[in-house]
């Protein structure tokens, strides 16, 4: 969204080539009616100016994150792990399944089963990306409905 809001550079005033045709390189007054804050205009024309301003870089849009913790109604065995893997494949976000200090990708059914998450324990779904909220909602639902 706000990707192009770094318009800080002093872009407007300096069209050097067109403004300074008369005097080749006169130090005095390079015809600067609209260039108030440009002291060394003559020596360092266009190219240099571009590099000057960079203090307030707007970071790329921060990725959305979401998470949910589910208390398992059943063991996280093959069938729900398979459902989890299929559900996860529908999203673009990076999703992780966490249990007892371990974190795996939900698309890896073997790794999910390897968590050994049993009924009554908690599993956390964490996602980062454009559809993070939807991914977490979908996977948490799969976990909630495990049987």
């Amino acid at each position: 969204m706000s990707g192009s809001s770094e318009a800080a550079p002093a872009a407007p005033p300096v069209p050097p080539a067109s403004v300074a045709p008369p005097a080749p390189a006169t130090p005095g007054t390079p015809a600067a009616p609209a260039a108030p804050a440009a002291p060394e205009a003559p020596e360092a024309p266009a190219a240099l100016r571009v590099e000057l301003p960079a203090p307030a870089q707007v970071p790329a849009v921060p990725p959305a994150t979401a998470e949910a913790t589910v208390r398992l109604p059943a063991n996280l065995h093959a069938r729900p792990a398979g459902a989890l893997a299929r559900a996860a494949a529908a999203f673009r976000s990076t999703v992780r399944i966490e249990h007892a200090g371990r974190s795996v990708s939900p698309t890896g059914i073997l790794a999910v089963m390897g968590l050994g998450a049993t009924r009554g324990t908690e599993v956390t779904v964490r996602a980062e990306g454009e559809d993070a909220a939807a991914a977490v909602a979908a996977l948490a639902l799969v976990l909630t409905e495990a049987e």
Binding site: R79, L110, A111
Partner: protein
Amino acid sequence: MSQTVGIVLVSHSPGLACGLRDLLAQIGSGSVPVIAAGGTADGGIGTSYDLVLDALDRADRGAGVVLLPDLGSSVLTARAVLADHPRPGVVLVDAPFVEGAVAAAVTASVGADLQTVAVAAEEARDVRKF
């Protein structure tokens, strides 16, 4: 894209291949063509060239087939079939039989391509059971 990668399970035992196929169905790979090619033509313990060849035909729906042998002469039989009937869309994978099949089936069921399914099966080797 609409086609699903198929899986052929080659085993010395008809029961082992069919049981694994049934397990895959439970995990939700209903959309994936999984064909068991276990045992000899008369149902004994061993491997059958003809069963494997026929299974490849039945599993291939246009997106390719992952051919998963259990061990030993299953590998040799699978290789012999592929040597006589080269198919660009068949990949013989070196993977644990059960885990590789499960990983392949789940991956195929979400519409992954042949290469992705084959890699998923082979990566099963590196995933600890617990």
